[in-house]
C-alpha cells in the first residue's frame, strides 16, 4: 500500500530527518533504509528522495559531506544540522499532539499488519 500524497508530503521530510538524525547516510543508503525500516510505506519513488534532500539542504536542515567509501570512491553523505534538529524536534512535538488529539476522537493507532507485497 502506498500512502496518499498528502500524508506523504508531511511524513517524508520527517522520516528522512529522523533517519539521518541517528547517523549520516549516503543517498542510496537512505533510500534503502526508508524502504526497509518503514515496511515499504515510505518508500517514495527513489526519484523523490533526491529532490527532498536538495530541499532540505536548501533549507539548511541537512548538510552534505564527503567521505571516501571502502571502494575508494568519494561518496556524498548527508547529516542533520543543528537547525535540522530543531525543526525535527518541533515536528515531533506536533506529531505527538496530532496523535493525541486524534486519539481523543477515538482514532487510536492500531498495529497494522504489514501487507505482504
Amino acid at each position: 500500500m502506498t500512502l496518499e500524497r498528502e500524508w506523504m508530503r508531511g511524513a517524508a521530510p520527517l522520516a528522512v530527518l529522523t533517519l539521518l538524525d541517528r547517523r549520516e547516510m549516503y543517498g542510496y543508503e537512505l533510500v534503502e533504509a526508508l524502504e526497509r525500516d518503514t515496511g515499504g510505506l515510505l518508500a517514495m519513488g527513489q526519484s523523490t528522495v533526491y529532490p527532498l534532500l536538495y530541499n532540505l539542504e536548501g533549507r539548511g536542515h541537512v548538510a552534505p559531506l564527503w567521505r571516501t567509501a571502502p571502494s575508494g570512491r568519494r561518496r556524498k553523505y548527508y547529516r542533520v544540522t543543528a537547525e535540522g534538529r530543531a525543526w525535527l524536534a518541533q515536528q515531533r512535538e506536533q506529531w505527538d499532539r496530532l496523535v493525541t488529539a486524534l486519539g481523543r476522537l477515538g482514532l487510536s493507532g492500531r498495529e497494522v499488519e504489514e501487507a505482504t507485497s
Binding site: 549516503y26 543517498g27 542510496y28 543508503e29 533510500v31 534503502e32 519513488g45 527513489q46 526519484s47 523523490t48 533526491y50 529532490p51 527532498l52 536538495y54 530541499n55 532540505l56 539542504e57 536548501g58 533549507r59 539548511g60 571502494s71 575508494g72 570512491r73 561518496r75 556524498k76
Partner: protein, 915 residues
C-alpha cells in the same frame, strides 16, 4: 563487487540519468553536481547487486524527477521562487524588481543624475518648442470653421505679395459679393486706436478698434450679452462730415470685451445700456463679447466701436486705409474664391473705372496672414533644431545605458546561471530604464513648461499667437515616445545580448572591464559619429544666425536712439477740438519740457522710424509744376511717399541730419506751406538737381521744399522709402494726428519721465502720459524676431555641442579602459607614450572626422531653409563652415586628451604581472 567507473553505467541507466538531467534543465555547475549524485546512487545500487532494470523501475519517472530536482535545487522552498526560468512576473515580483532597481540606482547616483538630466533637457527643449509651434502654426484659430476665414487685401496686380490696405468704396462692393463671402467684416486697424475711458472714478486708457457691421458675424462669434453692430450703425445714408476723425464712429455705441467687462464693471449683468465716455464723448454699451473671444487683428482690444463705411470723406477711391476679413462660402476653395473675386472685380472696374486696375482684391488664409512666412520658417527650423538636440541626447543615453549594461555583465550572468529566465532579466533591466524615464520625463515636462514661459518672455513680439502656447500634452507625448523608444532600445540591447551569452563565458572574464565585443563597440562609435554630425549642423546654424543678427545690428539706422524717450499724449476732441488747439498744446508742452535741466531736445512725430511703413500717400511733381499755376494733370507726376507729420525739434531729438536747405527751427511756419523731403525721394524725383525751393503737391497743399533730410530706415534691415516731413503747425487741422513725443535727455530716463509727467499735469491735469518707451526698445523690438531665432539656435547648438563632447569623451574613455592590457603590453614592448597617445587621438579623429563630414553635408542641405532667416549672410559661407570644423577638431582633442593621458599612464610592469 565491481567498481563502476564514471561513465560506465549500463546503457539503460545512463539514458535514465540523461533523461533526468534533460528534464531538469539546470545550469552547468548544478547539473554537474546532480549528475554526480545520481551516478553515485546508481553505482551504489549496482554495487549492492540490484539489477539495472530494477534500479530503473525503482527510480520512477525520470522526467518528473528532473522537474522536481530543478525546483528543489534553485531554492530551498519548493513553492515560490524567483529564478525558475519563467518569462513573466507576477505583480509582487514587479514590485520587488522596482525596489531592487531603486536600490541599484541609489548606489550610482551620478549615473542616474546624468541620465535624468540628459533626458530632461532633450524632452524639455522639444516640448517647449513644439508647444509654441502648435499654438502658432498648428492649432486651429479660435473661431468656428476657421479654415474658411481669409484676410482680404488689395494687392498690386503685378505682384500679389505687395499688399495694401482697402478702400471704402471697394469694401462696400466686397460686402455685396455674397456668392463668395458668407460674411465680411472691415476694420480700421491702421494703428491701435487708444481712447481715454472715463466713467466713474478711475479714468483708464483703453484700446478701441473700429469695426464694421458684420465683423463679429464673419468670425462666427455671437456676443455673450446684448448685440453687435447693426448695418445702419456702419452704413447709414449721407456722407460723413468733412474733417471728421477717420476713427469717429457714425453711431456712438460700443461693444465691450469680456476682459474689460469683468475688470471694470465686475461682470455686471446690467451693463448693456449704460453710457460710458470715450475721449470725452458719450457711448452706449450695446453688447459684451464672450470670454475667450480674441480679435485676430487686435488681440488686446478692450472694446469695439462701429466703423463708418459711408461713401465720401475717408471712403474714397484713392484712400487705402481699411483692413478686412471674410468667411468663404462652404465648400469654396481658396483658388476658386480668388477666381470669382477676380471676375467680380473686373466687372466692378467696368462700372466704376475709378477703381483702377493697379490694386486688386487678394485673399489670403487668415492664419497664414497672421503668422507670416518668415515666422513660419523660423519656427519650423527651430523645431528641427530641437529634434537634433533630442537626437544627441538620446545617443548619449544609449551610450550610458550600454556602458551600464556592460558593467553589469557579471551580475546578469550570475542570474542566468542561477536559472533566471530571459524574460525576468529583460524585465529587470527595463524596470530600471523605465524608472529613469519616468523621472527624466517628469523633469522634462517641468523644464518644458518653464521653457514656454521663457520663450514668451524672450520675445513676445516674435511670437504672435491668438491662443497662448501652453505646455502641449501632444508635444510632451511626442518627446516622451521618442525618448522611450531610444531608452528601451539601448536598455534592451545589453539584456538581450547577455541573456544569450553562455553564462560561463561572462563569469570567466574575472571582473576585468569588458568592452562588450566588437559589435557593441562599433555601435557606440556609430552613435558618437551621428552625434557629432547633429551637433555640427546645429553649430553651423547658430553661427549663421549669429552672423546674420550681427549684420542686422550693424545696419546704420541714421538715428541715435540712445537717451531718447518716446510716449504718447492723447488730446481728447472735447477739449482740443481743432488743429490750432492741438498745435498750441504741442508748443506749450515743448517749451516747458525743454526747460527741464536734463532735456536736450523735444519733438514729436506721427510715426516712429524703424517701425514699418505708414501713411503712404501720394505726392505730385513734374517739371511743369514749378510754374505759378501748377496743375496736376500728368498721371506720371504722382509718386507715393511716406508722410511724417512732425513738430518741434524732432529731427534734433533723433539726430537726423538735414543735408541741404534749412533746419525746421529756422523755417517760418506761419508763412507759406513748407515740407522737407528725404534724400531718397530727392534722388528719385529730382535726380541730380537741387530740390530745395521747388514746389510739390503733398498733404493736401502745394508746398515748397525747405530742405533735404537724410534717409531713415523704416525697418531693422535698413529698408528705405521716400519720405516727406510735414510740419504739424501747418497740417494740424487734417485730423488729430496723435503725435508720439520724442524727448532726448541725459541721465536716467525713468526719472526724466516722471518729471515730464509732472510737467504735463501742470499743463492739463486730465492728460495721461501714455506708453512710455525708450527709443532703444522700439528699435530692439524691430529686431525681435531675428534675436529670438539667434538666441534659441545658439542655446540648442551649445547644448548639442556639450552633449556630443560628453558622448565622444565617453566612447574614448570606454575604449581606453577596455584596452589597458593592450597599452601595457605595447609599452612593455617598447612603444613610447607619445605613440600610445597618438593612438587614442587617432581614434578620436576616427570618430570626429566622419561626423564632421556628415554634419557638413547636413548643413549644406539645410542651408536652403535657413536662408529665409538670414540677413546679408550666405548660408554656405565657407568661413562659417571652417569655423564649425575647427570647433569640432578642438572638441575631439579635448574629449580625447584625458583618455589619452590615462592610456599613457598604464603601468606596463603591473599589466604584465597580472597576466
Amino acid at each position: 563487487m565491481t567498481r563502476a567507473a564514471r561513465g560506465t553505467l549500463p546503457p539503460e541507466v545512463e539514458s535514465l540519468v540523461a533523461e533526468v538531467l534533460d528534464a531538469a534543465r539546470l545550469d552547468l555547475p548544478a547539473r554537474a553536481e546532480v549528475e554526480a549524485d545520481l551516478r553515485a546512487h546508481f553505482e551504489d545500487g549496482l554495487a549492492a547487486g540490484v539489477p539495472s532494470g530494477e534500479m530503473r523501475r525503482r527510480f520512477g519517472d525520470p522526467r518528473a524527477a528532473g522537474r522536481e530536482i530543478a525546483r528543489a535545487r534553485r531554492s530551498g522552498d519548493p513553492g515560490r521562487n524567483e529564478n525558475d526560468g519563467r518569462w513573466w512576473m507576477s505583480g509582487n515580483e514587479w514590485w520587488t524588481e522596482v525596489k531592487r532597481s531603486v536600490r541599484r540606482l541609489a548606489r550610482t547616483p551620478g549615473f542616474a543624475a546624468v541620465v535624468v538630466a540628459t533626458l530632461a533637457l532633450g524632452v524639455g527643449a522639444n516640448t517647449a518648442i513644439f508647444s509654441v509651434v502648435n499654438a502658432v502654426l498648428l492649432a486651429p484659430l479660435p473661431y468656428p470653421d476657421a479654415a474658411r476665414l481669409v484676410q482680404v487685401h488689395e494687392a498690386a496686380a503685378s505682384n500679389r505679395d505687395n499688399q495694401n490696405y482697402l478702400r471704402g468704396p471697394t469694401v462696400a462692393a466686397y460686402r455685396t459679393w455674397s456668392e463668395v463671402f458668407d460674411g465680411f467684416g472691415a476694420l480700421y486697424v491702421y494703428r491701435e486706436t487708444g481712447a481715454d475711458l472715463t466713467d466713474g472714478d478711475q479714468p483708464a486708457r483703453v484700446t478701441a478698434t473700429p469695426v464694421s457691421a458684420g465683423y463679429f458675424e464673419a468670425l462666427g462669434v455671437a456676443p455673450a450679452l446684448g448685440r453687435t453692430f447693426r448695418e445702419e450703425e456702419s452704413v447709414a445714408p449721407g456722407t460723413p462730415p468733412d474733417g471728421a476723425d477717420r476713427g469717429t464712429p457714425i453711431s456712438p455705441v460700443a461693444v465691450l470685451s469680456h476682459g474689460l467687462w469683468m475688470d471694470r464693471y465686475g461682470g455686471a449683468s446690467d451693463v448693456v445700456g449704460r453710457t460710458i465716455r470715450l475721449d470725452d464723448r458719450p457711448f452706449e454699451i450695446v453688447g459684451v463679447m464672450p470670454e475667450g473671444f480674441v480679435d485676430p487683428f487686435g488681440p488686446r482690444a478692450d472694446l469695439w466701436t462701429p466703423q463708418d463705411l459711408r461713401m465720401g470723406g475717408s471712403n474714397s477711391w484713392g484712400n487705402y486705409y481699411l483692413s478686412a476679413l471674410a468667411r468663404l462660402k462652404p465648400g469654396l476653395t481658396l483658388e476658386a474664391a480668388q477666381e470669382r473675386v477676380d471676375a467680380l472685380y473686373t466687372r466692378l472696374v467696368e462700372e466704376h473705372p475709378e477703381a483702377g486696375t493697379q490694386w486688386v482684391p487678394t485673399l489670403v488664409p487668415l492664419r497664414d496672414d497672421l503668422v507670416g512666412s518668415t515666422r513660419r520658417t523660423m519656427l519650423l527650423i527651430l523645431s528641427v533644431a530641437a529634434g537634433l538636440v533630442l537626437l544627441t541626447a538620446c545617443v548619449n543615453l544609449a551610450n550610458l545605458l550600454v556602458a551600464r549594461g556592460l558593467g553589469r555583465d557579471r551580475d546578469v550572468a550570475v542570474r542566468v546561471a542561477l536559472g533566471s529566465g530571459r524574460g525576468r532579466i529583460v524585465a529587470g533591466l527595463l524596470v530600471e530604464t523605465g524608472l529613469l524615464a519616468l523621472v527624466g520625463c517628469a523633469a522634462g515636462a517641468l523644464l518644458g513648461a518653464a521653457g514656454v514661459r521663457a520663450l514668451l518672455a524672450l520675445s513676445p513680439d516674435a511670437l504672435p499667437a491668438l491662443t497662448p502656447p501652453e505646455t502641449g500634452w501632444a508635444a510632451f507625448a511626442f518627446a516622451l515616445a521618442v525618448t522611450l523608444v531610444a531608452l528601451v532600445l539601448s536598455g534592451l540591447t545589453p539584456a538581450l545580448r547577455l541573456s544569450r551569452t553562455p553564462p560561463a563565458d561572462a563569469l570567466r572574464s574575472d571582473g576585468r572591464a569588458t568592452t562588450g565585443g566588437r559589435r557593441v563597440r562599433r555601435i557606440r562609435d556609430g552613435l558618437a559619429i551621428v552625434q557629432v554630425a547633429a551637433a555640427l549642423v546645429l553649430v553651423t546654424g547658430a553661427a549663421l544666425l549669429g552672423r546674420s543678427f550681427a549684420e542686422l545690428a550693424r545696419v546704420p539706422l541714421a538715428i541715435e536712439p540712445e537717451g531718447v524717450l518716446t510716449f504718447e499724449v492723447n488730446l481728447p476732441a472735447s477739449r482740443y477740438p481743432d488743429g490750432a488747439a492741438r498745435d498750441a498744446f504741442h508748443r506749450t508742452f515743448r517749451e516747458r519740457v525743454e526747460a527741464l535741466p536734463e532735456v536736450e531736445a523735444v519733438g514729436a512725430v506721427s510715426w516712429l522710424p524703424v517701425n514699418g511703413r505708414f501713411n503712404i500717400w501720394g505726392m505730385y511733381w513734374d517739371p511743369s509744376f514749378d510754374t505759378p499755376e501748377p496743375d496736376r494733370s500728368n498721371r506720371d507726376g504722382w509718386r507715393s511717399t511716406d508722410i511724417r507729420v512732425f513738430s518741434g525739434d524732432y529731427l534734433g531729438a533723433l539726430d537726423i541730419r538735414v543735408l541741404r536747405g534749412v533746419e525746421p527751427s529756422e523755417a517760418d511756419m506761419n508763412g507759406e506751406p513748407v515740407v522737407w523731403v528725404s534724400a531718397r525721394l530727392a534722388a528719385e524725383v529730382f535726380g541730380e538737381a537741387d530740390p530745395v525751393g521747388k514746389q510739390v503737391y503733398v498733404a493736401n497743399e502745394i508746398r515748397r521744399i525747405a530742405g533735404v533730410v537724410e534717409d531713415v530706415p523704416y525697418d531693422a534691415e535698413g529698408g528705405i522709402a521716400p519720405k516727406t516731413y510735414v510740419p504739424h503747425a501747418q497740417f494740424a487741422d487734417d485730423r488729430n494726428w496723435a503725435l508720439t513725443q520724442t524727448v532726448k535727455a541725459r541721465g536716467d530716463l525713468a526719472a526724466v519721465r516722471e518729471r515730464i509727467r509732472a510737467t504735463l499735469a501742470g499743463i492739463d491735469g486730465q492728460l495721461v502720459l501714455h506708453r512710455p518707451k525708450p527709443l532703444e526698445e522700439v528699435v530692439a523690438s524691430a529686431r525681435a524676431q531675428s534675436r529670438f531665432a539667434t538666441v534659441l539656435m545658439a542655446a540648442f547648438a551649445l547644448l548639442a555641442l556639450a552633449l556630443s563632447m560628453v558622448g565622444t569623451y565617453g566612447v574614448l574613455a570606454g575604449a581606453v579602459a577596455g584596452r589597458t592590457r593592450e597599452f601595457g603590453i605595447r609599452m612593455a614592448l617598447g612603444a613610447d607614450r607619445a605613440s600610445v597617445r597618438a593612438m587614442i587621438l587617432r581614434y578620436a579623429a576616427a570618430l570626429i572626422l566622419p561626423g564632421v563630414v556628415l554634419g557638413l553635408v547636413g548643413a549644406w542641405i539645410g542651408g536652403r531653409w535657413v536662408q529665409a532667416l538670414l540677413f546679408e549672410v550666405d548660408p554656405r559661407d565657407p568661413l562659417v563652415y571652417l569655423a564649425a570644423v575647427a570647433v569640432f577638431v578642438a572638441v575631439g582633442v579635448l574629449a580625447g586628451w584625458a583618455p589619452a593621458r590615462r592610456a599613457t599612464r598604464v603601468d606596463p610592469a603591473r599589466t604584465l604581472s597580472s597576466e
